[in-house]
C-alpha cells in the first residue's frame, strides 16, 4: 500500500461526502491528527485545485468544505443532469430574503414586509427544505418562527449566514430616531 498523506485522506473523505464537512467534523473523523495539520491540509488541497487548473474547486459552504464544479462548466453538466435547473419566483426569493436577514421571524412579520399573504410560499419553501420551523415565539398566540436551513446556504453557495450579501443601508428617516432594523413592527392582532 502506498503511503497516504493527510491531504490525500482529506481529499478522499471530501470526495465521497454528500454534504459539506466542517473542520470540526474532520477533527473528529481524523482524531489522530493535529487540528493545525488538518487545517493546513485542507488549505493546501484548495490551493492545489486552483493551481492545477482542475474543473473542480474546494469551496467553503454552509459552515464546511465541499468540492464543487466550477461555474464555467455548468452548460456541459446540465447536458448530463437533465434535472430542471432551480428556479425561484420573485415571491419565493423575496420571502427567502426576508427570512434570511430577519430570522427568527414570524409569518405576520414576513407578511408585513411583503404586503401580501405568504402562507403558500412558506409551505412551499418548507417543502423544499430551504426554511425550517425553529420553534414558537413567546408572545401571545405563540406564532411559529422561521429560519433558513443548511440547504439554503448550500443552494446559494453561502459560507455562513454572515456571508449574506450586505443589505443596502436605509437612510435614516427624519421621523424615526430608532434603528431601522429591529424596530418592533406594528403588526395587526392575529
Amino acid at each position: 500500500m502506498k503511503e497516504m498523506t493527510l491531504k490525500q485522506i482529506i481529499e478522499s473523505i471530501l470526495f465521497v461526502s454528500d454534504s459539506p464537512l466542517s473542520l470540526d467534523r474532520l477533527y473528529i473523523l481524523l482524531e489522530e491528527f493535529e487540528h493545525e495539520d488538518i487545517k493546513g491540509a485542507v488549505a493546501a488541497l484548495a490551493d492545489e485545485c486552483n493551481v492545477s487548473r482542475r474543473a473542480i474547486e474546494l469551496i467553503q459552504v454552509a459552515g464546511g468544505y465541499q468540492f464543487r464544479s466550477r461555474s464555467e462548466f455548468a452548460d456541459y453538466i446540465r447536458r448530463l443532469k437533465k434535472l430542471k435547473p432551480v428556479r425561484f419566483s420573485p415571491s419565493a426569493l423575496e420571502t427567502l430574503a426576508i427570512i434570511a436577514y430577519r430570522q427568527p421571524v414570524t409569518r405576520s412579520e414576513i407578511e408585513y414586509f411583503r404586503g401580501v399573504d405568504s402562507g403558500g410560499i412558506l409551505k412551499s419553501l418548507l417543502d423544499k427544505k430551504l426554511i425550517r420551523i425553529i420553534g414558537k415565539k413567546d408572545i401571545p398566540g405563540k406564532p411559529l418562527i422561521y429560519g433558513t436551513t443548511r440547504e439554503f446556504m448550500e443552494t446559494f453557495s453561502l459560507k455562513d449566514l454572515a456571508s449574506l450579501p450586505t443589505l443596502r443601508e436605509i437612510e435614516e428617516l427624519a421621523v424615526s430616531g430608532d434603528d431601522m432594523d429591529q424596530v418592533p413592527l406594528p403588526l395587526p392582532e392575529m
Partner: protein, 262 residues
C-alpha cells in the same frame, strides 16, 4: 443565462412600451414602488394625492380587465386614502397627541424602503452561484460510502417533516378518528406524560397534588383533561372513600421495562 431571466422578472425598468406589461406585481408594495420609480419620485417625499390617484386607476383597470383584485391591494388603497386625508388636515399641535409631528407617510415609507431593500437582497441572492444551476456537487450517496453498513445514530429530521408526516397519516386515516385528533390537545399530552411520571413508584397520590404547578387556567384545564383521558384509557384509577373526601389517584399501569419485540 438563467440569471438574466430571473432578473427580468423584477419590474422596475420602464423601457417596455407595450400596453400591457406581463410581469407580475408581487403585491401592493411592489406596485407602489413601480409607480414611484416610473414617476421618478423622491421616496422620502411622496406626493400622496398623485400616487393614490395612479394606484386607484390601476385597480380600476384591473377590474375592467375582469381581474380579481386581491384583498391586499384594497387594504393598501384604503391606507393611501387615509394618509391623504391626514395630510389634508392642518397640523395639530395638541400636546396630548402622540402622533405629534409624525408624518402620516412615515410608516408607509419605511415599509417601502424595507421592501425595496429585501427585493434588492433577493436579486443579489439569485445572482450567486446556485447549486444545481451554476455549480454542482456530489450531493448523492457515493458508492464507496454506501458500501459500508449504516450505523445507528440519532437521525436528523426537521420539525416540519414530522408534522407533515402526521398530516399524511391523517389524510389516509379512517374517517371516524378525525374528530378525535384535536390539534390543540398537545399540552394535555404534556400533562399526561408528567402525571404518569409523577405517579411512577407511588402507591397513590391526592388528586389535588396533580394540580400543583403553574396555577394558570390553561394548566388546570389541561391537567383535568389529562386525568380524564388517563381514566378513559384506564391508565389511572380514581377512588374516593367518603363523600367530599380525598380523591386518590393510582396508576393502573403495570411497570414494564422489558420491551416486547416482535
Amino acid at each position: 443565462m438563467y440569471q438574466q431571466d430571473q432578473n427580468s422578472l423584477f419590474p422596475g425598468d420602464d423601457s417596455i412600451a407595450c400596453l400591457v406589461r406581463t410581469e407580475a406585481f408581487e403585491g401592493p408594495l411592489d406596485l407602489l414602488l413601480h409607480l414611484i420609480k416610473k414617476n421618478e419620485l423622491d421616496i422620502y417625499n411622496i406626493p400622496i394625492a398623485e400616487i393614490s390617484r395612479q394606484y386607484l386607476d390601476y385597480l380600476d383597470i384591473m377590474r375592467e380587465l375582469n381581474l380579481d383584485v386581491a384583498g391586499e391591494f384594497l387594504v393598501m388603497a384604503s391606507t393611501l386614502i387615509q394618509i391623504k386625508s391626514q395630510m389634508l388636515l392642518p397640523q395639530i399641535t395638541d400636546t396630548h397627541d402622540e402622533e405629534l409631528g409624525q408624518d402620516p407617510r412615515a410608516e408607509l415609507v419605511r415599509r417601502l424602503l424595507e421592501y425595496e431593500r429585501y427585493r434588492e437582497a433577493s436579486a443579489l441572492l439569485v445572482a450567486r452561484e446556485l447549486l444545481d444551476r451554476d455549480v454542482f456537487a456530489r450531493n448523492f450517496p457515493s458508492e464507496e460510502l454506501e458500501a459500508f453498513p449504516s450505523e445507528d445514530e440519532l437521525p436528523v429530521v426537521e420539525m416540519f417533516e414530522l408534522v407533515d408526516a402526521f398530516r399524511r397519516i391523517l389524510a389516509k386515516a379512517p374517517k371516524e378518528s378525525f374528530h378525535e385528533v384535536g390539534s390543540e390537545n398537545i399540552s394535555i399530552a404534556d400533562r399526561i406524560s408528567d402525571i404518569l411520571e409523577f405517579l411512577q413508584g407511588r402507591e397513590s397520590v391526592d388528586f389535588e397534588e396533580l394540580f400543583i404547578g403553574t396555577n394558570t387556567r390553561e394548566f388546570i384545564i389541561a391537567s383535568f383533561l389529562a386525568i380524564l383521558e388517563l381514566c378513559r384509557l384506564r391508565m389511572i384509577r380514581l377512588s374516593q372513600f367518603e363523600n367530599y373526601g380525598m380523591i386518590l389517584v393510582q396508576s393502573a399501569i403495570i411497570a414494564e421495562t422489558d420491551p416486547e419485540h416482535p
